[in-house]
């Protein structure tokens, strides 16, 4: 029973592990570029979760085989959703990195702690 559970849920669990690694990078690291990398890891793990749900054992990719009627195809719908999500993901990544570049220019650093220190100093002098 528990071995069955392990085999049938292994994908989901590794996906959750990766998701948590991304989440941990996001909240524990101060470097802004590293945070964007963490966000990417998180995002890719969500893609894997969706694609795992779309897989049918023994199925083929959902490209119709000409003249055959009894072929087992995997579910095409998660693939479509994830194609959209990948493109949106690269858009958010690029905006995040552009923000990091601007912050580097304004503060001279992309470390969160140093930025906070600079903010505190400027507030004290005002």
């Amino acid at each position: 029973m528990s071995l069955d559970l392990l085999v049938s849920h292994y994908n989901y669990w590794v996906v959750i592990f990766l998701m948590m690694v991304g989440f941990y990078i996001l909240i524990s690291r101060g470097n802004l570029v590293k945070k964007v990398v963490g966000l990417n890891v998180f995002q890719t793990s969500v893609f894997m979760l969706y694609i795992s749900m779309g897989k049918v054992s023994g199925g083929t990719p959902p490209i119709l085989v000409y003249g055959e009627t009894d072929v087992l195809y995997s579910n095409p719908l998660p693939h479509v959703l994830i194609l959209t999500a990948i493109v949106v993901g690269i858009a958010t990544t690029s905006v995040g990195l552009a923000l990091a570049v601007r912050i580097k220019e304004a503060y001279g650093t992309i470390e969160e702690d140093e930025i906070n220190a600079i903010e505190a100093r400027t507030e004290a002098t005002e």
Binding site: S28, K34, S52, S57, Y73, H79, V80, V95, K104
Partner: protein, 179 residues
């Protein structure tokens, strides 16, 4: 097997502090996930991930690093609180998967809502053998149009953010780390 490799790549990403190495590892991670998508029959997703995830985003990261410098300093505070939050969240998510149907079972509810219709009828209705393409471009056409709007908004945002720097500062290359 690929999943285990991916987990290893994820952990390496966490530990490494040189950001160039991090970006390269992120590229490897993307490529591995593209392999995984191929194994799970999502060929369209796999080549998009290989092109966008491993290709374009690596280039974007390298560009950002050239401007921002590539050293990450050690985190100043203890990692206990984030670790606690992550463990609790992860535990809850694993608990949530207990009710999920097993991997790859054709009787899963997700396969019997609209997917049957797409697979059986899309060739008669649209005339493209690749079901993913016909769903993307036809049944969910508005979704794809919204996606291009998002990409356009992101491009405009990046241009606004970075437009000022060209005019204002003539010597950014001298100050950077030269990566």
């Amino acid at each position: 097997m690929l999943l285990t490799l991916l987990a290893a790549a994820g952990l390496a990403l966490l530990r490494v502090r040189n950001l160039f190495a991090v970006v390269m590892l992120a590229g490897i991670y993307s490529l591995l996930s593209a392999g995984l998508f191929t194994v799970m029959d999502a060929v369209d997703v796999a080549f998009t991930e290989a092109a966008v995830g491993a290709g374009i985003s690596t280039v974007l990261f390298l560009g950002a690093l050239a401007l921002c410098g590539h050293h990450e300093s050690k985190p100043g505070h203890t990692p206990l609180l984030p670790l606690f939050v992550v463990l609790v969240t992860g535990g809850l998510l694993v608990w949530g998967t207990m009710d999920m149907p097993g991997f790859g079972d054709p009787a899963n509810p997700v396969h019997h809502h609209v997917a049957d219709h797409y697979i059986e009828e899309s060739y008669h209705e649209i005339g493209i053998p690749n079901v993913v393409t016909s769903v993307l471009a036809s049944y969910r056409g508005y979704d794809t149009m919204g996606e291009t709007t998002v990409v356009f908004a992101a491009a405009v945002g990046v241009m606004i953010l970075l437009a000022g720097r060209l005019g204002r500062r003539p010597q950014p290359e001298g100050k950077g780390d030269g990566g």
